[in-house]
């Protein structure tokens, strides 16, 4: 989290820094948990696309609060490196690779996960249809891993953007879980299309044993699973895909939580204190472009 972006002037941003969270998204998971009691009785958790690690921080603090949970295991996976978090095993790995699955199952000592979550989002391009497609692919990659590690009855939570085709995903997830809910925590800005898909009660597809295979793309993986992904036909015809509406729940206590789209006046003595981010941002891919610009080396030659 940087310090001065316009988008970051809300109270959750400041609170996150005060409370030591690496990102303000920590509050989203906390509010989802308040609503759905996601952490209740949970011993094995996988946090996907975890960097910078705010959800892992929440999982670690909330689950290990309960002394009975001292044997709980949390695995955080991301392609990016992540600084260590107490009680969390971090893996820098590709979530679609079978080796990653093996490693997770090793850490769980053969047991299956109670809860899989993913707060991942691609860098948006602004081309809404493409962004929605890539986000759906990311959810499918997370779901692919989830179907391999979740125990029956386990829960899956992932970030979604309520775009035009999100109803297709609701319908497909509905075939794998008892309950599929679209939830919007108060800490997620009303102006953003972001929501979270909360899938409760995993029911594995009968007669189908999910296996990660690097030779299969996520699309091909789910083709075999028959949850209604579109199929390629000899005559190239379009499948009419089933669309479904998921119940929508706003969460976060109105009395005690803040509105992320509102501006709050800080207490007097806090007003001029600027807090440093808990975790400094990682180098963006365009770091060199910024450096060249700063040095004035981007001149036109004519």
């Amino acid at each position: 989290m940087g310090k001065s972006s316009k988008d970051k002037r809300d109270l959750y941003y400041r609170k996150a820094k005060e409370e030591g969270w690496r990102a303000r998204s920590a509050f989203k998971l906390l509010q989802l948990n308040e609503q759905f009691e996601l952490f209740k009785g949970v011993k094995r958790v996988v946090d996907l696309c975890a960097a910078p690690g705010s959800w892992s921080q929440v999982l670690s603090r909330e689950i290990f609060k309960d002394e009975n949970n001292s044997d709980a295991k949390i695995v955080a996976v991301d392609l990016q490196p992540m600084s260590p978090i107490d009680h969390v095993t971090t893996l820098q790995a590709d979530i679609t690779h079978p080796k990653t699955l093996e490693k997770i199952l090793d850490i769980f000592e053969g047991g299956k996960a109670d809860f899989v979550c993913s707060d991942g989002a691609p860098d948006v391009t602004g081309l809404h249809d493409l962004d929605e497609y890539i986000q759906a692919q990311l959810i499918l990659s997370a779901l692919q891993l989830a179907t391999c590690v979740l125990k029956e009855g386990g829960a899956f939570v992932a970030k979604i953007f309520r775009g035009r085709d999100i109803d297709l995903l609701y319908s497909q997830l509905g075939l794998l879980f008892d309950k599929v809910i679209c939830a919007k925590p108060r800490s997620s800005r009303g102006t953003s299309l972001e929501s979270f898909i909360v899938c409760l009660g995993y029911k594995p597809r009968a007669g189908w044993n999910p296996k990660l295979n690097p030779n299969l793309s996520t699309e091909e993986f789910f083709q075999e699973m028959k949850i209604g992904r579109p199929e390629l036909h000899d005559d190239l015809s379009f499948d009419a895909e089933e669309r479904k509406v998921a119940p929508f729940i706003a969460c976060g206590d109105l009395a005690t939580s803040y509105d992320s789209d509102a501006t709050y006046t800080l207490e007097k003595d806090l007003q001029r204190t600027s807090l440093d981010p808990v975790q400094m941002p990682t180098a963006p891919p365009y770091k060199k472009a910024l450096e060249l610009k700063r040095k004035g080396e981007l001149k036109i030659i004519k």
């Binding site: 602004g126 793309s217 190239l236 365009y286």
Partner: protein, 731 residues
């Protein structure tokens, strides 16, 4: 009327789509295909007419159009492969144009990144998002097979280059793994290019398969030599955000080529690759779209034209061969070169201080009073030396009238008249004694009459207005009393009936003097002196908009412009008050099509900007303001011809555009960001309505909406500091 037809009539049906243009392709040397959302439009780019439109997909945007016929001068009936998202349509141009032929939407297995026709045009290859190629048999319109290279990365971009029947390169831009080039026949990865940081947003191989262009989240353009092991041969840095479009054009015999690129930063750039140079040199930059993102582009290499389509819905045409157009000039002279050409010896530290563009050459004066003329903008000639003009001199003149005026502090004024070949044919001397000092001379040519104002820094002196005739003789004189507050004048306008004069000053002060009924001797008191209505810095120019309504356009140095009305003195009414996005405004004028054109400086360049249609007409890096410069312009038909002369580190540079016979814009578009609200107002004309839109981009735009669903932009109001939400019509 039967129930059935009644119901049909009551159904809503869509008329037009106005939105981001995500696909462009030249059909031939006259027509261009544009994907405007799900609608395919065909524009004639000689006339800028929209000649055809048809909705192709039910929901999906058109992302790319691929033609079976690559030669734009060939007018056969090509097959079009149109795709966007998961949708694909394959249709002959003639069938597309016949509305009775339905267009089928096909599914190639996944999101499509690129399509290409096979060498014999019997198959279509579709590269999909998981790096598979779906091959479609075009005779049976059936799936033939799906091929892959065993590397199923998810892609952000891709292209296919067919080199021969059995040499087909699949270029895949991945999200995580750089660029993968694989051979479709052997299904082997030929090159894995990893020098980019971040996701790959564009990848394209040259026609002969030797070079590859790519761009990524790192904002660089890279050139790779595929015939030399996929070696990285050049880098192009410059775009300030992600690049969404790039293509090759203009290959030269030495093996070099040009690159045309467009970006999220709303700029379009031209680059040059030379063999052996590891820098892709940026030749020019143009800012012609508003909001965010230029999504699409294409190049007509034969005509050297570039096209871009933006999120703002604008379809812009670029001249990719400015240097080659008839009348193009780009000159640069050092003082030494001028001295040699004009056979005159300049002293050490002598410089050309001031100059004026006569239309067929320009006249300049040195710091030691040497007067020279540059005939036809190529040939320097020494005219005379006048020591009275040493140290301080002003050179002004009358636009396109070949008359110049030189003044010094003491009020010695030399008037010079030139003929059609830019030879000095007449000279007249004036002496002004009534001013304690002359430090400002401003000229104006209006409907065959020549006026100038002289100003002194002394607040007790008058402002002097003189009119001369074609023989350089003074025929009219007026004296004006300065107002109580201190003024420094910058611009003026006078109506040809000599009724009144309006003067623009620093700090937004507007002065007006009533000339009617005054003879040439009595000093005239100001009839109007307004400070409060116009906010800002210097009023750089005043143009009459309507003589009848007494309306004027005022350009403001600090990026704004006003339209004011002075119909009943002493009242001044502000009709419009607007800002441009950036830069200093040094002047403005209207095009024959009534577009408002503004010019000025921004950081290190000079710009000419079409404010009505919101695009940059020219940009010249000159080092920024605070220099001697001159802009001359006129219209040939609807094409603007301009000439910009400027001084940079004591060299004089000149750039003049040549004849460009294509329109600048095929569609004006609206906002480049989300439109938050809109209002439609009926007008007296039943076929036209007024459309007012407010957007996330903080502007409010006013357009006319015609009955066929097309909109024409007239006005972009910049006043709000953040995204606007409600737009409500007040009256």
């Amino acid at each position: 009327m039967t129930q059935d037809t009644l119901e049909k009539q009551q159904q809503l049906h869509s008329l037009a789509h106005l939105g981001p243009i995500c696909a462009l392709k030249c059909l031939n040397n006259e027509l261009i295909l544009a994907g405007d959302g799900p609608v395919l439009k065909i524009y004639n780019y000689s006339t800028s007419q929209l000649v055809f439109q048809r909705q192709i997909f039910a929901r999906n945007k058109i992302h790319e159009i691929c033609l079976s016929n690559k030669n734009p001068s060939n007018n056969d009936d090509p097959i079009l492969a149109i795709f966007g998202g998961r949708s694909l349509s394959i249709v002959k141009l003639s069938a597309l144009k016949s509305s009775s032929t339905p267009i089928k939407e096909l599914f190639a297995g996944d999101w499509i990144m690129a399509t290409e026709f096979s060498h014999d045009k019997k198959e279509l290859y579709c590269l999909t998002a998981h790096n598979n190629v779906t091959i479609i048999d075009l005779t049976s319109m059936k799936l033939k097979e799906v091929l892959n290279c065993n590397w199923k990365s998810i892609l952000y971009s891709g292209s296919i280059r067919v080199l021969s029947d059995d040499k087909i390169l699949v270029c895949a831009g991945t999200v995580m793994d750089g660029v993968l080039i694989w051979d479709l026949k052997s299904r082997e990865v030929v090159h894995h290019l990893t020098a980019h940081e971040g996701s790959i947003f564009g990848v394209k191989a040259s026609e002969n398969g030797k070079y590859l262009l790519s761009c990524s989240d790192d904002r660089s353009i890279k050139v790779w030599d595929l015939q030399d092991g996929g070696r990285l041969v050049a880098n192009g840095w410059g775009h300030g955000a992600r690049i969404w479009f790039l293509d090759f054009y203009g290959f030269t015999k030495d093996g070099g080529f040009h690159v045309f690129s467009a970006s999220e930063d709303c700029t379009t750039r031209i680059w040059r690759f030379d063999v052996g140079n590891e820098n892709l040199n940026q030749l020019s930059i143009m800012n012609c779209h508003t909001g965010r993102n230029i999504w699409s582009g294409c190049v007509n290499d034969e005509l050297k034209l570039g096209f871009t389509g933006g999120a703002d819905g604008k379809l812009k045409v670029y001249d990719l061969n400015e240097q080659g157009r008839q009348g193009y000039l780009n000159e640069k002279w050092s003082l030494k070169q001028i001295g040699e050409a004009a056979d005159v010896a300049f002293a050490k530290d002598e410089i050309i201080k001031e100059y004026f563009d006569l239309g067929n050459g320009f006249v300049g004066i040195s710091s030691l009073g040497k007067v020279l003329v540059c005939q036809k903008f190529v040939q320097w000639k020494f005219l005379f030396e006048d020591s009275r003009y040493t140290t301080f001199s002003l050179v002004r003149g009358f636009e396109n009238q070949r008359i110049a005026a030189i003044s010094n502090k003491e009020g010695n004024i030399t008037l010079l008249k030139f003929d059609a070949d830019c030879n000095l044919v007449h000279k007249n001397e004036l002496k002004v004694d009534s001013l304690s000092r002359v430090n400002n001379l401003i000229t104006l040519y209006n409907e065959g009459r020549y006026f100038f104002i002289l100003e002194s820094p002394n607040p007790n002196d008058f402002l002097l207005l003189k009119e001369i005739d074609n023989n350089l003789t003074v025929i009219n004189e007026f004296k004006f009393v300065k107002p109580k507050e201190k003024v420094v004048i910058a611009s003026f306008n006078i109506n040809s009936k000599l009724e009144n004069i309006i003067i623009g000053c620093r700090f937004g002060i507007v002065l007006m003097y009533d000339l009617s009924g005054h003879d040439n001797t009595a000093a005239i008191e100001p009839s109007l002196c307004h400070k409060k209505y116009i906010k800002g810095d210097t009023i750089t120019s005043i143009k009459t908009l309507s003589k009848k309504d007494q309306t004027y356009l005022l350009t403001m140095k600090d990026s704004g412009y006003y339209v004011i009305q002075i119909s009943s003195l002493p009242d001044l009414i502000v009709l419009e008050d607007n800002k441009i996005q950036k830069g200093f405004v040094d002047g403005g004028f209207y095009s024959p099509d009534a577009d408002l054109i503004l010019y000025g400086f921004k950081s290190d360049y000079f710009f000419i900007w079409n404010e009505t249609q919101q695009f940059e007409i020219m940009r010249k890096i000159c080092g920024g303001p605070h220099r001697q410069w001159s802009l001359a312009h006129h219209y040939e038909g609807s094409n603007l011809r301009y000439r910009f002369i400027f001084t940079r580190s004591s060299d004089i540079e000149l750039v003049q555009n040549g004849k460009f016979s294509h329109p600048d814009v095929l569609a004006t578009g609206l906002h480049g960001r989300e439109i938050r609200d809109m209002s439609v107002v009926a007008t007296k004309n039943p076929t036209k309505k007024l459309l007012i839109t407010g957007s996330e981009d903080t502007t409010i735009k006013v357009s006319t909406l015609t009955n066929d669903g097309n909109a024409k932009l007239h006005w972009s109001q910049r006043q709000h500091g953040s995204g606007t939400i409600p737009v409500e019509v007040v009256n």
